[in-house]
C-alpha cells in the first residue's frame, strides 16, 4: 500500500518505495496516452507496476463536463505490487471537472498538480464550481501546485508557429514532462516514440517533444516544486518483460492455446465494452491461423462459435454480461452437443446496460446458472492481467479435453489494467493434445472416454463418421434423439459428472498465509491484487489471516472443502452481493460471511483490511 505519509517530508531526490500517480483530464486531453507513456518508461526503469484507466461511457462528452473526465492511474514500486493503488499520491488535474471528479479520492497531503489556466469561469461552471477552488483555500490540505500549463506550453511552442489548437493539444506532454522530472525519469523512449508516431507531420512531432521537454525543464529550473523522488528498481524475477493488460493477455493466450493444440483459432464476437479489445487484437493475427468473425449480434457469434467447434476449430466467443444473456440459449446447445467452446465474459457493472465501463463480478451466477435446464459448464477466472494469458490456455485445455463449454470470467478491471509480464518461454508452455477419430467401425458419437467422460470429436470431412447432433436429448452412445425417461436422467447425471470430474484434472487450491488460522479470506478473479495486498498487510500486522484465491470455480478444486475447515472464520470478498459466498455456503455448509462491494470499482486495499479486522473481532 502506498501511503501519502511516505512522501510527506520529501526533499530533493527523496527515495520512495512506491507511488501512485493519477493523470486526469478531459477525454480529449490525452490522459490515457501520457499515462501509457509514463508506464512504459516506468517499466524500462525496472519498477513493478500496475495501472488502471478509468474512462467515461461517452466517447467524448462535452468538453469540460464532469462525465467527460478521463483518468489513468499508475502505481509503481521498488517491490512487488498487486494493485493500481487505492488512492493517488499524486493527482494531475488538467481542468476543473477533472479536479472535482478526482478530489474525493485524494488523501490529505497528497501532491496535487493543477493546470491553473483551465480554471476559467466557463470551465468552472461546467464543472459545477460556484467559486474557484484554486483560490478559495479549499485545497489547503494537499500539497497543492497550480501550474499555468496552458500558458507555459503555448510559450514553449511559440517559435514553432503551429496553429493555436494544435499547440494546445500538446499540453498533456508538458504535464508528462513535469512528472518525469518529479520522479527523475528519462525522457528518451518517449521522445523516440513521439518522433516515430508523428513522423508524417514533423511539426506535430517536434511540438510534442518540445512540450515534453519544456515540462521537464520547468520542474528542474523553477523552485515551485521542491521535491524530486526516486523509486529504485524492483527485484523482479529475471527474464524478458512486457507490459500487458488483461484483454491483451487473454487474446494472445488463446492464440497460444490454439497453436499449442495445433488448431485454428476461431473467434466469433459482437463488439461490446469492455470486451471489444479482444476482437480488435485477434483480428490482426491473420498470419497465425486466427479467424475472426464480427457477427450481427451475440447470438450469431455464439452460433458461429458452435459451428466452428463442430468443424474442429478451437472455438471462442467473447462478450460482456448482456451478451452472455443473449448467448445463453445457444450455450445450452453447446452443453447438449458437448462441443468444446470457450465463452469469455469480461464482466461490467450491471444489471441491464448498467455501468458499461465499470468493473464488477456479478455475472458468476449467470455463468453457473443462467440457462434453462440442468446445464453445467466449466468456469475459470483469471486473477491478474498476466494470468489472463495462462487461464486462456487452461480454459482451452479443459474445453478440448472434456468436450465442454468453458466460461472464462474476466472483468473490466483486469481487461484494462496493465502490469509487467514476464514472457513465458514457448517450450515451457504445455502442449494440448487433441484427437479426432477416423475409424468408422463401431463409431458412436456419444461414446465416452472412461476417464473424462468426453465424447469423441469426429470432424466433418472424415469418411464414414457422418453423424448428426442437436439440442434434443440424446441417447448415450448413439447420440440419437431419445425421449426415454431413464436415458434422460442418465444423461443429466452424465453431463454433471463430466464437469464435476474436471476437479481431478486441475491443481488443488492453495492458500497464501498460515495453513490454519483465525480467518480465511476467499476471493476469485480480478480482485486478487487487493486481497493479496490486504492479507499480506494483515499478517504483517500480526493477524492470523490466509488468502485463498479461486481460479477454478466450477468445479471447485477438490481440496477446497477441507481447506475451509482449517480456519475459524471465512470471509468471502467479492464485487457483487455474495455469489461465490452462496455457492460455498450451500456446498460446504460453512457459515462463511461476505464482504461485498458493488460500486463499479475494484476493492481498495484499506477497505479489505478493515473488513478483515472487523471479521476478526
Amino acid at each position: 500500500m502506498s501511503n501519502p505519509s511516505t512522501i510527506q517530508s520529501a526533499k530533493k531526490h527523496q527515495q520512495l518505495e512506491k507511488v501512485a500517480i493519477r493523470f486526469a483530464g478531459d477525454s480529449g486531453d490525452g490522459m490515457q496516452l501520457v499515462g501509457g507513456k509514463f508506464t512504459e518508461t516506468t517499466a524500462m526503469c525496472g519498477n513493478d507496476f500496475s495501472t488502471f484507466p478509468d474512462f467515461p461511457a461517452e466517447i467524448r462528452a462535452p468538453t469540460g463536463s464532469l462525465p467527460g473526465v478521463s483518468g489513468y492511474q499508475i502505481h509503481f514500486s521498488s517491490r512487488d505490487i498487486y494493485t493500481p493503488g487505492d488512492a493517488p499520491d499524486v493527482l494531475v488535474a488538467m481542468n476543473p471537472a477533472a479536479l472535482k471528479v478526482n478530489l474525493r479520492d485524494l488523501p490529505e497531503n497528497a501532491i496535487l498538480l493543477v493546470n491553473q489556466d483551465a480554471f476559467n469561469d466557463a470551465n468552472l461552471k461546467k464543472a459545477g464550481y460556484a467559486s474557484n477552488p484554486l483560490e478559495d483555500g479549499s485545497l489547503k490540505r494537499f500539497r497543492f501546485y497550480p501550474v499555468p500549463i496552458g500558458r507555459l506550453n503555448a510559450e514553449a511552442l511559440a517559435k514553432l508557429g503551429l496553429p493555436k489548437k494544435d499547440a494546445e493539444r500538446c499540453k498533456n506532454f508538458f504535464a508528462l514532462g513535469l512528472i518525469y522530472w518529479m520522479f527523475d525519469r528519462p525522457m528518451e523512449s518517449t521522445v523516440t516514440w513521439i518522433q516515430d508516431k508523428f513522423k508524417k507531420v514533423k511539426g506535430i512531432a517536434d511540438a510534442n517533444e518540445a512540450a515534453l521537454k519544456a515540462g521537464f525543464f520547468y520542474g528542474e529550473t523553477t523552485e515551485l516544486i521542491p521535491e524530486q523522488y526516486r523509486i529504485p528498481q524492483a527485484q523482479l524475477e529475471k527474464g524478458l518483460y512486457r507490459k500487458i493488460s488483461g484483454n491483451e493477455a487473454a487474446a494472445i493466450g488463446f492464440v497460444a492455446a490454439a497453436q499449442l493444440a495445433g488448431k485454428q483459432l476461431f473467434y466469433g464476437s459482437y463488439p461490446i465494452t469492455p470486451a471489444s479489445d479482444i476482437l480488435h487484437e485477434l483480428s490482426y493475427h491473420k498470419n497465425l491461423n486466427v479467424r475472426t468473425f464480427q457477427a450481427e449480434d451475440e447470438i450469431a457469434a455464439m452460433g458461429a462459435t458452435i459451428g466452428a467447434a463442430f468443424g474442429g476449430s478451437l472455438a471462442l466467443t467473447g462478450t460482456s454480461g448482456p451478451g452472455v444473456a443473449l448467448k445463453s440459449e445457444a450455450i445450452g446447445l453447446a452443453v447438449m452437443t458437448e462441443l468444446p467452446v470457450v465463452i469469455v465474459n469480461v464482466q461490467r457493472g450491471g444489471p441491464s446496460t448498467g455501468l458499461p465501463t465499470k468493473t464488477e463480478q456479478a455475472d458468476l451466477f449467470q455463468a453457473m446458472f443462467g440457462r434453462n435446464g440442468e446445464c453445467p459448464v466449466i468456469i475459470v477466472a483469471p486473477a491478474t492481467p498476466g494470468e489472463c494469458f495462462h487461464m486462456a490456455i487452461e480454459a482451452s485445455r479443459l474445453a478440448l479435453k472434456f468436450m465442454s463449454p468453458v466460461m472464462y470470467l474476466s472483468d473490466g478491471f483486469l481487461a484494462n489494467s496493465a502490469e509487467p509480464w514476464r514472457m513465458p518461454k514457448l517450450e515451457d508452455l504445455p502442449r494440448i493434445h487433441v484427437e479426432h477419430p477416423t475409424v468408422a467401425d463401431n463409431f458412436l458419437p456419444y461414446s465416452r472416454d472412461p476417464e473424462t467422460l468426453a465424447r469423441p470429436w469426429a470432424l466433418p470431412g472424415t469418411p464414414g463418421l457422418e453423424h448428426r447432433i442437436g439440442g434434443l436429448e440424446k441417447e448415450d452412445g448413439s447420440g440419437n434423439v431419445s425421449y426415454d425417461s431413464e436415458n434422460h436422467q442418465h444423461m443429466v447425471q452424465t453431463r454433471a459428472a463430466k464437469v464435476a470430474g474436471v476437479a481431478k484434472f486441475i491443481p488443488p487450491a492453495a492458500v497464501a498465509g498460515p495453513p490454519h488460522g483465525d480467518l480465511l479470506l476467499v476471493g476469485w478473479g480480478g480482485t486478487y491484487g487487493s486481497l493479496r495486498a490486504a492479507s499480506e498487510e494483515a499478517r504483517r500486522l500480526g493477524k492470523s489471516v490466509a488468502h485463498l484465491h479461486l481460479r477454478y470455480i466450477n468445479p471447485f478444486p477438490s481440496n477446497l472443502g477441507d481447506l475451509l475447515t482449517n480456519y475459524k472464520r471465512i470471509l468471502v470478498a467479492e464485487l457483487n452481493c455474495g455469489q461465490l459466498l452462496m455457492m460455498l455456503r450451500a456446498k460446504y455448509l460453512v457459515d462463511a460471511r461476505g464482504f461485498n462491494k458493488v460500486k463499479g470499482k475494484p476493492f481498495q486495499v484499506v477497505e479489505v483490511l478493515r473488513a478483515i479486522e472487523e471479521a476478526l473481532l
Binding site: L240, N287, A300, A304, E466, I469
Partner: protein, 346 residues
Amino acid sequence: MNESTTLTLQPPALTKPVSKADFVSGQDVRWCPGCGDYAILAAVQKALADMQVQRQNTVFISGIGCSSRFPYYMNTYGFHSIHGRAPTLATGLKIARPELSIWVVTGDGDGLSIGGNHLIHTIRRNVDIKILLFNNQIYGLTKGQYSPTSEQGKKTKSTPFGTIDYPISPLCVALGVEGSFVARTTDTDLKHMAMVLERAAHHKGTAFVEIYQNCVIFNDGAFKGITEKSVRPDHALFLEHGKPMTFGKDGSKGIRLDGVHPNIVEATGKSEGLCVHDEKAPEPTLAYMLSRMRNPDYPVPFGVFRAIERPTYDGMLVAQEQQATAKMGAGNLQNLLRGPETWEVK
C-alpha cells in the same frame, strides 16, 4: 478465390459412385403421412446423388421446426440446432472449414420469424452456403400458429379472429439484402425441384431457395391454387434465363413491362415486347419485381430469379488471410508474446 464447393461436387476418380440410398440415414422419418417434407427429402437425396456429392464433406444444419428435422434423415454430417440460428452455425462452420459443402434447412417460422436477422446477414455476406426454406405458411411443430408468410386474415390457433400481420415474401427479403442466388420451387414438382437444387448446389455464394411445402395437418392445400396440375399453367410462371416470360396454356399469356410495372398480355405465338428473364442482371430490380408477383393478380414465378457471381465471404476471408500472411510473413508465437515493447530484467 473460393473453389471449395466445386471441389466437393466433383468426386475424386477413385471414390465409388454414390446412389440416392447412400444419403438415407436410416433414422425413422417422423413427419406426418402426406407431409410435403417427404418429397423435398427425396429430391435432395436424389440431387446430391446425381451430382455425386461426397457425403463426408456435406453438412446439413437446421433450426427447429418440422422442416428442421431434415438433417436426421440425411446420411451426411448434420446439426439440428436451435430455433432460427442455423445460418449462424453454418457461417461459423464455413469460416472454419471453407472446403465443406454446407446446407441450411429452415422453415418460414425458423428462418423468417425468429431467425430473420441471421438469414439476411448471411445472405448479404454471401457466405457460400445453400439455404432451403420450406415455406408451409404455418408453424407446424408447435401445432398451427400463423407464420410471417401466412396470408392476412388467416384463422389460426393464435389468431381465432384472423391475422392482421401483412405477410412477408421470403424472396423479397432475400433481394432486399442483395442475395446473389434467389430461387423458388415447390414440393409438388420433383423435376423442377431437382433443377433448382442443382443450380443452388453449383452456385458460389449464398443460394437462397424458397420451397413451397404442404403441411397436411395445419395448412393443407395452401398452394393448391397455384401448383396443382390443373391450375398451374394459369397461376404459375416458370422462369428461364434469356426467355420471354410466358405462361398460361400453351404460353398464351405473357408479361410486358410498363415502366417498372408488369402487365399481363396475350402472347400466343409472338413473344416480342415481352419481358425477357435475366437472372444475371447485375441490378436485382427485375428479380425484385418478379418476387412481388403473386396470385390473384399475377402468376407466381418459379425458378431462378437471380444468379450472379460475386466473391464469397469465405473466399474473401481466405484471400485476405493469404495476402496478409504473404505481406507480414508467417506468424510467430514468440513474437506475438513479445508484443510491441519489451525490457529485460537481469
